[in-house]
Subunit: 669 residues, 2 copies
C-alpha cells in the first residue's frame, strides 16, 4: 500500500512537473526549473495542508498561498488546474504566456482567480505575505470570540534564493519576527542556482541563522526532491509553533527530473526543448502525452473540491452561529467583506474658510486621520519610523499593533519603507475591507517604488502618506528634498497622486483616497504651513483640477498651481488683476483625475486658445508641458535643492511673488 500511495504521490508530483515542462515548451518561454524542483513541496502543501475551496477562490477563511518566486508560476497554474479551479483549464495552460490568457508569465491576481498575490519582482511576495498575516491576526483579534474563531487561517509562501537576497524580504521578515506572526510559514526553495549560476558566486550566508536572528522558527529538509514525508512533518511542526513565523529550508534540485539540465542555470528560465523533455519523461517514467494528466492524479487532486466545499460550509455554519450570537460584530464583519464603507464615514472630515489658520498639509492630514479613525474602523496603518514627522497617528488612539496587541491598528514599520509598502499591499491583498495606509518622507518613496508600482498594477487601494513634499523641507537638504519624486509618481499608471493646496483640498484628497479601493493614492503633503484658500473646495478635488480664482471673459493668462505654491499663484493673480489683467488660477491637486474629466470640462478649465499658462510647483517641471504646452512657462525646480531653512530655499529657488510676477509679465508681453 505504501508503494501504491507513493506511486500515486509520484504521479501527482510529476503532474506538476510535466504540466510546467509542456506549457513552457509550447509557449517557447518560461521558467521550468522552479516548478520541477518545488513540485514535491507544492504537492505536499496543497494536498495535505492548504485550506481552500477551488470552487470559490474568494472564500474568506482560506489559507493564503503566495508564490514569492513568481517566475515559477507554472507551479501555481498546475496546482490551480489540478485541484479543480475553473480559472485554469487545461486549455488555459496550453495558452501559457499568450495574449489574453489566464496564465500570464508571472502570477497576476487581477487575471487569475486563485492567485492571491501578483509576484515576479523578487522578495515582494514574502513581504506581501507578512501583510496578509498581519491582516489575519488583526481581524482575528478584532472579531474572534472565545467560542467562535471566525478568522483563522495560515499564510504559506514558497520563496527562492532570489527572494532571500532582496533587501525587501530582510526588512519584512525582521518585522515579522518581531511581531511573532505564528501563522506565517515560508518554504524556502534552496536550490543553489540563480540566473548567474551557482549561488556561491554571490550568496553564501547562512540563511536559516539569519532568520533565527530575526526570531523565526527554523527547520531544514535536506532532501526536498523526494522526501515528501519530511516536508509534511516540517510543515506540521511549523503550524504547531504559534509564537513565531516559520521558515523551512527545503533543499531541492532545480529542474529535477531533467537528466541533462537539472541543477544548472540553463533550466531556470528557458524551455527544456523537445529532446530534453523526452529525456525527462523517461527519467520520471512519465508515459503521458503533453498536457495529458493521468486520471488517478486528477481524481486525487480534485478531492480538494469536496474538501473545500465542506470547509466553506462548516465555516458558513460558524458564521451563522456568530451572526446569531454577535449580530453587531457580524454586521460589521460582513460589511467589511463586502468592501462597503460605513455610513457617514466621512462626516467628520473638516472644511475650512480662508479665515481659518493655515497649517501644513501634513497637519491637515493628521486632522483627517483623526476625523476618519473613529468612523472607519477598517483604517489601519502607520509610518516607517516617522510617526511624529508624518503625523500618521490617529488622534485619540494609543498603543500599537504588536504581538500581544494585535487588535490595535497602528503599525510601527521601523525604518523599512520598502517592506512597509509591500505589507500595505499584503493587507490590501487580504481583501477583507481593511484600508491600509503608510507614511514616510516623500523623497523616500524611491525606497519603496517597486512595491508602489505593484499597488498600482495590482489595483490595491493603498494610501501613501508622503510628507515633506518639496524644498520646503529646508535644512535637511537635498538628500531629503524631493524634486523629481512627484513627477515620477505621476508617471505611474493607475495611481492617484494628490498634492493638496490647503485644508479643504486635503480633506477632499483623503475622501477620494478612501473611496478609491482599486487604485493606490499618494498624498504629497507639506512640512510647512500654507494659507487656506477662499475658494478651495473639498468636493472639487474629485475633478482633479478646477478654477480656483477667475476673471471675466477669456483670461489673458492662466496660473496652474498645486500644494504650497497655490497661494503664490493666487497672490500673483491678485496683483495682476489689480493692474487690469485677466487672470485665472487653476488648482490642480490631482492631475490623474483631471485627465479623466470630459473634454468639455477640460476645455472649460484650460481653454485651448489661452496659451499663456504658467505652472508653479516646487518640483521638476517634467510632465507639466501637457498643460503649458510649447508656449507656457514654469516656475519649477531645475536641479536638486539645498540645505537651508525652508523659506530661504523657496526664495533662492525662485518661489517668490516677485519671480512669479516677472515670469507672468514676460509672457503677457
Amino acid at each position: 500500500m505504501v508503494a501504491a500511495s507513493a506511486s500515486l504521490e509520484n504521479l501527482c508530483i510529476n503532474s506538476i512537473r510535466m504540466l510546467a515542462v509542456d506549457a513552457i515548451n509550447k509557449s517557447k518561454s518560461g521558467h521550468p526549473g522552479l516548478p520541477m524542483g518545488c513540485a514535491p513541496m507544492g504537492y505536499t502543501l496543497w494536498d495535505k495542508f492548504l485550506n481552500h475551496n477551488p470552487k470559490n477562490p474568494k472564500w474568506f477563511n482560506r489559507d493564503r498561498f503566495v508564490l514569492s518566486a513568481g517566475h515559477g508560476c507554472m507551479l501555481v497554474y498546475a496546482l490551480l488546474h489540478l485541484t479543480g479551479y475553473d480559472s485554469v483549464s487545461i486549455d488555459d495552460i496550453k495558452q501559457f504566456r499568450q495574449w489574453g490568457a489566464k496564465t500570464p508569465g508571472h502570477p497576476e491576481t487581477f487575471e487569475t482567480p486563485g492567485v492571491e498575490v501578483t509576484t515576479g519582482p523578487l522578495g515582494a511576495g514574502i513581504s506581501n505575505a507578512v501583510g496578509l498575516a498581519i491582516a489575519e491576526s488583526h481581524l482575528a483579534a478584532k472579531f474572534n470570540k472565545k467560542d467562535i474563531s471566525l478568522v483563522d487561517h495560515f499564510t504559506y509562501v514558497i520563496m527562492g534564493d532570489g527572494c532571500n537576497q532582496e533587501g525587501i524580504s530582510s526588512e519584512a521578515c525582521s518585522l515579522a519576527g518581531h511581531l511573532k506572526l505564528g501563522k506565517l510559514i515560508a518554504l524556502y526553495d534552496d536550490n543553489h542556482i540563480t540566473i548567474d549560476g551557482k549561488t556561491d558566486v554571490s550568496f553564501t550566508e547562512d540563511v536559516l541563522k539569519r532568520y533565527e536572528a530575526y526570531g523565526w522558527h527554523i527547520q531544514h529538509v535536506p532532501n526536498g526532491n523526494t522526501d515528501v514525508n519530511a516536508i509534511e512533518k516540517a510543515i506540521q511542526l511549523a503550524k504547531e509553533v504559534t509564537d513565531k513565523p516559520s521558515i523551512i529550508k527545503i533543499t531541492t534540485t532545480i529542474g529535477y527530473g531533467s537528466p541533462n539540465k537539472s541543477d544548472t542555470a540553463g533550466v531556470h528560465g528557458a524551455p527544456l526543448g523537445e529532446e530534453e523533455s523526452a529525456n525527462t519523461r523517461q527519467e520520471l517514467n512519465w508515459e503521458y502525452a503533453p498536457f495529458e494528466i493521468p486520471q488517478e492524479a486528477y481524481a486525487h487532486y480534485r478531492t480538494a473540491i469536496n474538501k473545500g466545499a465542506k470547509l466553506e460550509s462548516d465555516w458558513n455554519e460558524k458564521l451563522n452561529s456568530y451572526k446569531s450570537k454577535y449580530p453587531n460584530e457580524a454586521k460589521e464583519f460582513e460589511r467589511m467583506l463586502r468592501g462597503e464603507l460605513p455610513e457617514n464615514w466621512d462626516k467628520d472630515l473638516p472644511t475650512y474658510t480662508s479665515g481659518d489658520q493655515g497649517l501644513a498639509t501634513r497637519k491637515h492630514s493628521q486632522i483627517c486621520l483623526g476625523a476618519l479613525g473613529p468612523n472607519l474602523p477598517e483604517l489601519i496603518g502607520g509610518s516607517a519610523d516617522l510617526t511624529h514627522s508624518n503625523y500618521t497617528d490617529i488622534k485619540g488612539e494609543t498603543g500599537s499593533y504588536q504581538a500581544d496587541t494585535p487588535e490595535k491598528r497602528y503599525l510601527h514599520f521601523g525604518v523599512r519603507e520598502h517592506a512597509m509598502a509591500a505589507i500595505l499591499n499584503g493587507i490590501a491583498y487580504h481583501d477583507s475591507g481593511l484600508i491600509p495606509y503608510g507614511g514616510t518622507f516623500l523623497v523616500f518613496a524611491d525606497y519603496m517604488r517597486g512595491s508602489m508600482r505593484l499597488s498600482a498594477l495590482s489595483e490595491l487601494g493603498v494610501i501613501y502618506v508622503l510628507t515633506h513634499d518639496s524644498i520646503g523641507v529646508g535644512e535637511d537638504g537635498p538628500t531629503h528634498q524631493p524634486i523629481e519624486t512627484i513627477p515620477s509618481l505621476r508617471a505611474i499608471p493607475n495611481m492617484l497622486v494628490f498634492r493638496p493646496g490647503d485644508g479643504n483640498e486635503t480633506s477632499g484628497s483623503y475622501k477620494l483616497a478612501v473611496q478609491n479601493r482599486k487604485r493606490p493614492s499618494a498624498l504629497c503633503l507639506s512640512r510647512q504651513g500654507m494659507a487656506n484658500q477662499a475658494n478651495s473646495s473639498s468636493e472639487k478635488v474629485a475633478l482633479g483640477g478646477y478654477i480656483l480664482e477667475d476673471c471675466k471673459g477669456t483670461p489673458d493668462l492662466i496660473f496652474i498651481g498645486t500644494g504650497s505654491e497655490l497661494d503664490l499663484c493666487v497672490q500673483a493673480a491678485n496683483k495682476l488683476k489689480a493692474i487690469g489683467k485677466k487672470v485665472r488660477v487653476v488648482s490642480m491637486p490631482c492631475v490623474e483625475l483631471f485627465e479623466e474629466q470630459s473634454d468639455a470640462y477640460k476645455e472649460e478649465v484650460l481653454p485651448s486658445n489661452v496659451r499663456k499658462r504658467i505652472v508653479v510647483e516646487a518640483a521638476a517641471s517634467f510632465g507639466w508641458h501637457k498643460y503649458i504646452g510649447l508656449d507656457g512657462a514654469s516656475i519649477t525646480m531645475n536641479g536638486f535643492g539645498a540645505s537651508a531653512p525652508g523659506g530661504k530655499c523657496m526664495e533662492e529657488f525662485g518661489f517668490t511673488l516677485e519671480n512669479v510676477l516677472q515670469k507672468a509679465n514676460g509672457l503677457l508681453g
Copy 2:
C-alpha cells in the same frame, strides 16, 4: 597621568558633543542625539586609527570614513574641524544648515572636502562603504607588489539602528560577507532609539547574529558611553581580522550628557534648547562658552595634521619607489588617479551601416562592453544576477571578482539591485578612476532608485545598464515591462538617460556614458532586435536629438522616436513621403543632452512653427509634451503591459505602422 589623559580624552570627546549641541541650537534644527552618543567612538576611531591628512583630504591612500547615519553629520563636521580640515572652520560650524554653508544638514561630499560619501537616506552609507572596500581591494590586487603596498587602507563606517533596518544594508552586508572584505569595519551605534521611540516597537532581532550569518566578524562593546578602552581594543581586533568584514556593536545612550533628554527620541532630531544645553554643560562639567573649544583639545586633535602630513609623505616615498621599480604600472596608476581616460579608449567602439544585421540594443551594449574592456582597464561592473540577460559580461574575460580573485573586474551582485547601485556609487566615491557599471532589467530600476538618485545628486559617473526596456519584453508580462520607468528616470536631475535606436546610437551612448564622470548614465536597452538606420550617428548622440531623416523645406510633420520605435517612425515617414508629404524624423536618444544644446540648434531640429509632431515611444507619454506641445500627438503607453510575445504586445498596444500612419494622417488632416 591616567587621570590627566582621561581628562584630556573627556575634553576631546565632549568637544564633539558640545559643538553638536551648540551648532544645532544656533541653527534651531538638527540631530544632536547621535553625535552626543557616538562622540567616544568617533574620537577613538579618528584619534587612534584613522589614517588621513587633514591638509589634503584627497590624499589617495587615506582610510575612508563613512557616517552612514548621516543625520548625525555634526559628528563629522566636529571631527573635521577639530582635526584641522580647512573645509570646516568654527564659522562654518556656526553656519550649520544655512544657505551656502559648508555644513549642510546631511553630509554632502560635493559640498565639504573631507566628507567621503553623501549620506542621509539610511542604509546607503554602509552599502557605499562595501563599494569603497571593493575598490580598495581591487586596486590593491591590481597594483600592489610584493615589496610595495601602494593601495592599503581601511574603510570605517558608523551606522545606526536605522541603517540596520533598511534592506539595502542587508543586501550589501550579505555580499560583503561573501566577498570577505576584511578591511571593512562598521561601528554600529546601538542606542535603542529611533524616531518612533524605543527600537523595541519594531526592531528586536539579534543584529550581531545576523551579521555572523553573513560571515562577518562580530564584537560587542557594552558601554560605548565611557569605555574608550574597550572601543579601542575592539577596533584593533577588527583590524586584525583580515578575512572577514567586522561589525562592532557599541551600546550607547543617544544624547549622552543631556540629563533630561538623553535616551529619548526627543533628542534624535531636535535642538536641546538653551535650558537643557545648560544642564548638559553642567552634567559634562563643560565650562566653555558656545563654540569655544579648550586649547588642549585642539592641540591634541590637531596632532592629526603632522601625523597626516607624515603619512602622506611616507606614502609619496613609497610611490616614488614604485615609480622607479614599476614605471608602467605607476603610469597607469597615476593616470587613473588623475581621472584621465587612456588614449584611444574608444577606438574599438563599432559603427554600423543599414546593411548590418539589426540586433537588440542589449546585444549592441554587450559588443560595446567587449570593445571597451581591453582599452579601458578601469571599467568594473557586473549585474544583479542577470548577466546572461543584460549581457553585461566583458567579452573574452572569464572569472569574477571574488575573495580570492580581487584582481578581476566582473562583479556578481546577486539578486540585490539596491545594494548594486550603492556599491557602484561606493566605487565611484573611491575617486580612483574606476568606472563602475551595473545591469538589471529596466523595470527594476525601481528597486535601486534611492541610490540612483544619489548617483545623480553626488555627481557620480555610474553607468546603469538597463535592459528589457519596454513591453517588447513580452511574455514576462507587466511586472517586468517598464512603462513609466524611462520617464521617471528622465525626471531625475543630473542623470543622462539614453535610449539608443540602433547600433551606432548604442556606441555613441557608451562613449558619452564613459566620458561623463560627473553624472550617472542610464542606458535603456531593448530585449528585441531592431534595424540599423541608414543615417544614425554615433557622434550625434552627443546632441541628444538630431535629424535622422529629413525633407525639403519646412516639414508638415515631425516624428520624434527613440529606441526600438525609431524604425517605425522612419517607415511611416517613408510611406508619407511617398504620397508627397514633407516629413522629418528626429531621433532623440538622450533628452537631457538635447536640452543642453543651443536654442538655435533646438529650433533647427524642432522649428517652433511646426506644431504637428508625433512622438513614438513604447513608454508612458509623460514628459514628451515638452516637445509635442498641446497640438501634437503621441503613440505611447497609457497603462501597464501584458504577458504575450513581445511582437504581439507591440501590435496590440498600437506600435504598428498602420497606427502610426493613422495618427499622422489625423494630424495632417
